[in-house]
Symmetry: C2
Subunit: 489 residues, 2 copies
Amino acid sequence: MSNVKAGADMDPEEFRRHGYAVIDRIAEYLREPERWPVLPAIEPGAFSRQVPGSAPVQGESMEQVLADFDRLVMPNTTHWNHPGFMAYFATSSTAPGILAETLAAGLNVNAMLWRTGPAATELEEVTLVWLRDLMGLPAEFDGTINDTASSSTLYALAAAREMYPELRVREEGLGRDGTPRMRVYCSADAHSSVDKAVITLGMGMSGIRHIPTDEAHAMDASALAIAIAEDRASGWLPIAVVATVGTTSTTAIDPVPAIADICEREKLWLHVDASYGGTAALVPEMQWILAGCERAQSLVVNPHKWLFVPIDCSVLYTRRPDVLRRAFSLVPEYLTTTDPSDVRNLMDYGVSLGRRFRSLKLWFVMRYFGADGLRQRLRQHMDLARSFAGWVSADAAWEVVAAVTFSVVVFRYRPAGVDSEEELERLNAQILQAINASGEVFLSHTKVNGRYCLRLAVGNIRTELDHVERAWQLARKAAQYVAADAGER
Amino acid sequence: MSNVKAGADMDPEEFRRHGYAVIDRIAEYLREPERWPVLPAIEPGAFSRQVPGSAPVQGESMEQVLADFDRLVMPNTTHWNHPGFMAYFATSSTAPGILAETLAAGLNVNAMLWRTGPAATELEEVTLVWLRDLMGLPAEFDGTINDTASSSTLYALAAAREMYPELRVREEGLGRDGTPRMRVYCSADAHSSVDKAVITLGMGMSGIRHIPTDEAHAMDASALAIAIAEDRASGWLPIAVVATVGTTSTTAIDPVPAIADICEREKLWLHVDASYGGTAALVPEMQWILAGCERAQSLVVNPHKWLFVPIDCSVLYTRRPDVLRRAFSLVPEYLTTTDPSDVRNLMDYGVSLGRRFRSLKLWFVMRYFGADGLRQRLRQHMDLARSFAGWVSADAAWEVVAAVTFSVVVFRYRPAGVDSEEELERLNAQILQAINASGEVFLSHTKVNGRYCLRLAVGNIRTELDHVERAWQLARKAAQYVAADAGER
């Protein structure tokens, strides 16, 4: 049955019927999140080939569209909500978050200005105060929600650039003769989004200097101090340091207090990338991970990573919202309002003018679980990671490669008698492939000081002990297989 | 009733129950979208004051959370889905789009890599081919979905910067002595996001030159040619021109064919901002608006503006995806895959690493309405705007200030005997305030050559003739009131 009046939206009763059907699908999906393989067995292009090459001229029935969703999307998507998803940083969409996203789509608020979304604008402020206080961050930190940590870090570094009004970066740009070139510092293990931000901002890859890490994969603060001194001596203008609390590769924590000392002495903007690790600070016994962060100019933390909020929801906190605003505020006549001048207009704090009502899902999730519920689940995830690391350590043919501080285990197969890194990489890559081909578990990899390692990241709210056990079983089984295979050759 | 197992997600049956309740709310909302005033009567801070200052320690029941949504959010939000919303560019979330967003939240796919979201990645390609073909854009145009046009334009201009590999912008940045400073051109009426992009990219406000417009508010192409020649003579490096098809203020169309001639001759990147106007090209008799755009290097169009897709969904088309990729691709070890090297990984085409499954709502909307349904509604919106403009023109005390090409009318009250621009601004601002205080209609304003004007933007799928008629009634009533008031003083 097609829509009766062409170009009119669906009748509300029909919407209700299809809405229930969609909710039923999600309820079944959440009841049985392991029904589909976590990684689909699909070749590139196989999905596209099943879809018509052009849009339909006449509208189709919603039944048909939903049937195609079931037939084409469900078997061909990677299931981030599968409890065996332990690759990258595992994330979850939880029921309260899904309900909030549904309501947000229903309202379709664009909170670019306070007046175009008063509740959305103020709820963003309220929920970010809640989160800030739970993380133990100082009251001077003022937050805004962005899509991803990549955007948040870009905005933070754009603000850092504005700390030198005499250079007139906003007015004149970076390209004038005689002005010093700016440089940003982060560890060799910082996320690639820092590099991307520096490139985007026009400072180029040479505008970033990667500081070596110590044996714990944390930034070497004394090397940072030396690098800054060297750069000043050769005419660079150091502007910012990005410290990471929970690096992507090994979840290492940079020595933020020592870095903050340097930043204060050198008058540099300190931005902390706690996009994954930050939410662990909700757990009182983990608040030490943010030591020194209270001295940062900005900090990014992603509730869509390890706080059970559906993607996308990245929070940028800063004690200098005035500078962030200076970097980005531009108000053309058609966006001026008669609202009080101290009203917060979210469009002033980043590149994107349009702003979805993202605070709603953060509000729903924090209220439904409560601080204690969130803490309990975070603790459980860290317990699971420690258990897994224990099994790995207890097996002589395997090793844990980095300290387990959060919920990620970096490990590898290292059987007696195999010392060639090349051979170890080949074996571990084969093991990874075998694990992922199971459809039960999805892990990813990294390299630590050149050594190829597997990464098991607990973060999905549905991941329980049996999933982590199964990952270990699969890993050992795969190792036996590849070792036998290697022996035969 | 609180959740039984602290930290566990909601039971699927409970999710189903609350999910139905959420769907019911949206069904009722869509049935009676005028139940709430389009603009809430709320003072800044009034929402925040009704919400606790800290997160709950114990989880709360979903009933309580939804009750607070009803009590606090609904009366305090601006209702973008109200058919009287005719401010800025009016948008809509339609039933198929809402269903798709719900499913996307349920799956929580992050399509940063093909392998982390094969269906999402390929559906993005498929739906953008559909849209491209409906708009009559050339087959060389390759699309990706971003959050907003601000991001899309930022990415396009970052790509433009990469057209000069000898300047090594990605490697060395813009700050080296002796390298020419880059400049971007757009009309004086281009969107502020162009300025914001240029500032963000490190070129500064002086890195953008605003070209005067002609009497139709379109860029003066000969002035562009002269500006480029002047700038080259004084050592600037012109890199890109942003032409607009449907400016924000008056929906003017820059002379893209003439601008394309200049860009080809001068070897500049031509980016077209068709974020609002572009979708009108779905209507065959409107395809002329994109004349010359087939020669552009990139073009942005927002299905979340005037194609009934919930926010956020902005499409960046480019014939040079290789250059866009060169500007942004950075693949750290932990994101490398064994997938074929020609697989598209969406993270390579912009700042954001994380990518929501945004193509799903575009697919649902295009299929449910069909090309003809979409065309019918776009035509109706343009008809409504022309009707409104007709009424304004027929009234001697009012004037239409800019040509009505799409679905926006720029107009003002200009009674006989009042010639002072200051007085006209005061009168029209009062009229605007009175209209918006009605709660029935929400209009915005702009300035055209210094003249303060009202803007009526049809774009909401539920806007019908009676809403536009009501806007006109309210405007005339308000004019009588403010005129009488002015007479009394």
